[in-house]
């Protein structure tokens, strides 16, 4: 039973991340997830210190705010501070992460947050952390109660605004020209990415969550001809990675989130080498298309 629950949790995280990840990858914003995932750490600790509880609601709110703030800061440094793009991301996320580590070590007794958990999470631990009512009723892992609504929100958002998101992601200047409030959608996307990162934090950690956002969508983009196909393919890839990765991690007695990422990476490699259109071994076709378009 707990096997299935762990795979379910990993898959739900994978699906949420992949859907959002498609837009991030296509808009060349992939590294924003890296920045946000590191920045949620101080948010989690500060929320804990302010609310004096490990109430998940406060954690999500605190960390979400920090994640959101990060994307602001990166943009601000780039645009107003004229700092090179790579450096501004690097400065912001390492700083927040450093502050997070200082806080975690400082309050390690008060807040039960393992330093290593910060980096690569613990899916098994999260699966066992169930919600018990006072009369002893077991409502299952607490994370599920966050992951399911979050996924529903993401799906609703993407389905309702599918065309809008498609236009913004494909051609942002055109989107502006027909009056789409581009900034508003950008912030909505950033907010969803932040909340997803926080919700996945304890399960897969700050660094590996980046893989969940980026690798399946990038794999899917190598194959897909349409945006909706890319989203569906990336969902499939993330479920396959969760399933295979979990069983391999049991066999090799090692971190399941790490193994899921390794499997996702190998799937990427496979598609990258063998894809019928963009694949490495069919590169001739690609270069042919390139000469056509130039």
């Amino acid at each position: 039973m707990s096997d299935i629950l762990t795979i379910l949790i990993a898959s739900l995280i994978g699906i949420s991340c992949s859907i959002l990840g498609c837009f991030l990858v296509l808009r060349r914003m992939a590294l924003l997830t890296d920045a946000i995932s590191h920045a949620v750490l101080p948010g989690i600790v500060i929320a804990f210190l302010l609310s004096q509880s490990r109430d998940t609601f406060f954690m999500v709110l605190g960390a979400g705010t920090f994640g959101f703030f990060t994307s602001f800061l990166v943009e601000w440094l780039q645009q107003k501070g004229k700092i090179q793009a790579d450096a501004s991301i690097g400065i912001v996320f390492t700083f927040f992460f450093a502050v997070g580590i200082i806080l975690v070590t400082q309050y390690t007794q008060e807040i039960d947050l393992d330093q290593e958990c910060v980096l690569y999470g613990d899916l098994l631990h999260v699966t066992l952390d169930v919600w018990l009512l006072t009369d002893g009723t077991n409502l299952g892992p607490k994370t599920l109660w966050l992951l399911v609504p979050l996924l529903l929100i993401i799906i609703t958002f993407v389905v309702i605004f599918y065309r809008t998101l498609q236009i913004i992601t494909f051609d942002i200047v055109f989107a502006q020209s027909i009056g789409i409030p581009v900034a508003l959608f950008h912030y909505a996307l950033t907010a969803l990415v932040s909340f997803t990162t926080v919700t996945s934090f304890e399960s897969v950690g700050a660094i590996l969550v980046v893989a969940f956002f980026i690798i399946p969508p990038a794999t899917a983009q190598l194959l897909a001809k349409r945006l909706q196909h890319m989203i569906i393919l990336s969902i499939i890839f993330s479920i396959v990675a969760s399933l295979l990765g979990y069983y391999l991690s049991v066999i090799f007695n090692s971190s399941s989130s790490g193994m899921i990422v390794v499997v996702a990476g190998l799937l990427f490699l496979l598609v990258f080498l063998l894809a019928p259109r963009g694949g490495y071994f069919n590169k001739k076709k690609l270069s042919h298309a390139a000469t056509l378009s130039s």
Partner: protein
């Protein structure tokens, strides 16, 4: 505080480490490859774990060889995917970083669950423990400093040229690939000797932030390095001092906080900053 011999060792180690990071970080920064250092830092974890698995000991040479192999592998993977696909560079960096780190975590947790007697301390590579710097480590760090300084004196001009005019280099018959390989090797060397003290995530900060600080004051490479060095040495002092005074506080993160302090100061007052609060007149 300098009465304590071990603290002195730690202080010297951390300062030399910051010097290494700042010097090589500047050349990566000039090529707009700051985040590459971050990817490499994450990618040496599986190499370190692999060489531990094979040798069952934490001998520096073997760990370095392992780190070098996976670090280089990550750089070449990035190049390979970039040349052969239409994916954005940010996406490729993200894929390679998280894949290698995931692999490292798998190996690390595997080692931990096997219960090897020698394995304790491997997890120091994740978040770093400056207090664990020994005199033998300082010697290794210092030799890297020496290698860096000598290489920069000999080849510094080429390292700058590759950032601004690599076409010119190939024109006069210098292999840009070779120069790039030297820079990559030095980067991996710096990171490998450094992560035990400050950890995988934060070592990138000491490579990225000092050149960004230097750039806010000057556009000359030599001055960027000098100002970067000033900031990183100052931050190292702050980091070691704070963790000496409050033993629970880790050194690495405080160095980063110090660096960001210097960065904010430079953002406000730096002569090249677009946000400077007042103009300093040239006399």
């Amino acid at each position: 505080m300098l009465n304590s011999y071990t603290t002195l060792i730690v202080l010297i180690g951390v300062i030399l480490l910051s010097i290494n990071c700042t010097i090589i970080g500047t050349y990566n920064y000039l090529q707009k490859k700051s985040l590459l250092a971050d990817v490499v830092a994450h990618s040496i974890l599986p190499g370190i774990c692999l060489s531990f698995l094979l040798t069952q000991e934490k001998d520096f040479l073997w760990l370095f060889i392992g780190a070098f192999i996976t670090g280089m592998a990550s750089i070449y993977t990035i190049d390979f995917i970039k040349r052969a696909s239409f994916l954005g560079e940010d996406t490729i960096l993200g894929i390679v970083l998280s894949f290698f780190f995931g692999l490292g975590i798998v190996l690390l947790t595997y080692i931990q669950n096997q219960g090897f007697s020698e394995q304790s301390g491997l997890d120091n590579f994740l978040l770093g423990r400056a207090a664990s710097i020994l005199i033998s480590d300082v010697k290794i760090i210092a030799s890297v400093t020496l290698i860096l300084v000598v290489t920069i004196i000999l080849l510094g001009r080429l390292f700058v040229a590759i950032a601004f005019d690599s076409a010119f280099l190939s024109q006069i018959g210098i292999s840009t690939k070779l120069i790039q390989l030297i820079i990559s090797t030095l980067t991996i060397m710096t990171i490998t000797v450094g992560i035990q003290a400050v950890g995988i995530v934060l070592i990138a900060a000491i490579m990225i932030i000092p050149p960004a600080i230097g750039r806010l004051w000057s556009y000359q490479v030599s001055r960027i390095i000098l100002i970067g060095l000033l900031a990183s040495i100052l931050s190292s002092l702050i980091g070691v001092y704070i963790s000496y005074t409050f033993p629970r506080s880790p050194t690495g993160p405080w160095i980063v906080v110090g660096l960001v302090g210097c960065f904010l100061f430079s953002l406000l007052f730096g002569t090249q900053s677009s946000l400077k609060v007042f103009e300093i007149r040239k006399i």
